[in-house]
């Protein structure tokens, strides 16, 4: 067998046209997902973009194994998640990033209020304190357009498990942030 393989050096089959077309489709609808997953971990738009680029590039390199749409998206989410976690290992960098993110007000709908930014900071901290398996389902379920079934496909676990993890995550976040909501209401 080895001899046969050795007798065919340099013979390769290049990425064919149909494969390119399929990758173009993924390129159109998947980068936002990778970007948002990375943003949920890094909370820095520039770094989230870098991670999403890297994840997509790796997906391109492995695309012959990832032609199925669901499989591609699940792989991409895992890649973006891992790459983002690798980036955030350095605690100092993480603090600086979060500082910039919350001060720039790039966080979304409630960023116009100072106390909202403060609240966001607490939400982020509470989220970071969650176990990884709860955190990933919480983040994915918060991305627009992803219901529990979609999240189950992306994470590769049964939908019932997603629901129970979501419940646990929400409960833990609610317990940690309850006092803050009470304070905000009192003000």
């Amino acid at each position: 067998v080895d001899a046969l393989a050795a007798s065919l050096p340099g013979h390769t089959v290049t990425l064919d046209a149909s494969l390119e077309r399929e990758f173009e489709q993924r390129l159109a609808d998947c980068p936002v997902l990778a970007y948002r997953v990375a943003l949920g971990v890094l909370r820095n738009t520039a770094e989230a973009e870098d991670v999403a680029q890297e994840a997509m590039l790796r997906a391109f390199r492995n695309f012959h194994r990832l032609r199925d749409r669901d499989r591609f998206r699940a792989w991409l989410v895992r890649a973006a998640w891992r790459l983002a976690l690798d980036r955030i290992r350095s605690v100092g960098r993480r603090e600086r990033r979060e500082q910039a993110f919350f001060e720039s007000g790039s966080g979304g709908a409630i960023d116009h209020e100072a106390d909202s930014r403060e609240f966001q900071r607490h939400v982020a901290a509470a989220l970071d304190a969650l176990p990884e398996k709860l955190r990933i389902v919480m983040l994915l379920a918060a991305i627009e357009g992803y219901n529990t079934r979609e999240v189950a496909k992306l994470v590769g676990i049964p939908e019932g498990t997603v629901k129970s993890r979501l419940f646990l995550a929400r409960k833990q976040l609610a317990e940690k942030l309850e006092w803050l909501v009470k304070n905000r209401k009192a003000r």
């Binding site: 390769t12 680029q53 918060a142 976040l173």
Partner: protein
């Protein structure tokens, strides 16, 4: 503060985790009980704030240059390739398997039909199953399995023995393997695969394995048992 009886269920109600029946009961209760209603409203406020807070962390789009940058990086990459070997490996494996099955079938056939069988009178020769003469009435698999010419297996075998003419055995293979074998045949005709080398490899695979003599080391004296009070450790 919710009343003691419902305290544990208020958060679950706000998070939508109760069964429909229990949910209706508790909602009805909050209509009557001010403390529980207030607790429920607070839990719902916390839930909404947390949801919005998490959503704000994953809201946003990559910059408009994202796709351009990504395309440029992809263009700079060497095109992903599949090695020629990985394309043909399954076909080669199938061919080797078919060759192995053919050899085994041939060998079994030769062992089962000895020269004594050939000299037996026709009355004690094994009775072969008969096949319908109309080929169209057979299923595709049956057509593949059916011996050519519609003759009995025993007579075909005895013909083989008497004439000593080599004939390929009939082998039933799953449709996928058959397609793979046909694909490989095409590859041979197009000279994409070196047939001689492939046959040599298949023959090599058929060579009997060398089995070394088993070496039994002399028995050693058993070590004394360890102290039973020692901690066995955990997994």
């Amino acid at each position: 503060m919710a009343c003691e009886k419902q305290k544990g269920s208020i958060t679950a109600l706000a998070l939508g985790e109760l069964h429909a029946k229990r949910e209706l009961e508790l909602l009805a209760h909050t209509g009557d009980c001010d403390a529980c209603r207030e607790a429920y409203e607070h839990a719902a406020r916390v839930r909404d704030s947390v949801e919005r807070g998490v959503e704000s962390l994953v809201t946003g789009e990559p910059s408009p240059h994202f796709a351009t940058r990504l395309r440029a990086r992809i263009a700079a990459e060497p095109a992903p390739t599949r090695s020629y070997w990985s394309t043909w490996a399954p076909v080669a494996a199938t061919l080797a398997l078919v060759a192995l099955m053919a050899a085994l079938t041939l060998r079994t056939h030769r062992h089962s039909i000895t020269p004594d069988v050939a000299t037996l009178p026709p009355a004690v020769a094994p009775i072969a199953p008969s096949y319908p003469t109309n080929a169209n009435s057979l299923t595709p698999m049956a057509r593949i399995a059916r011996p050519r010419g519609g003759g009995a297996i025993a007579s075909a075998s005895s013909q083989r023995l008497s004439s000593h003419a080599p004939e390929l055995p009939e082998v039933i293979v799953p449709p996928g393997q058959l397609a793979a074998a046909l694909e490989l045949t095409d590859a041979f005709s197009d000279k994409r695969v070196d047939g001689q080398q492939l046959v040599a490899l298949a023959n090599k695979a058929l060579e009997p394995l060398k089995i070394n003599d088993l070496e039994v080391p002399p028995l050693e004296q058993l070590a004394p048992l360890a102290d039973s009070s020692e901690d066995p450790g955990s997994f």
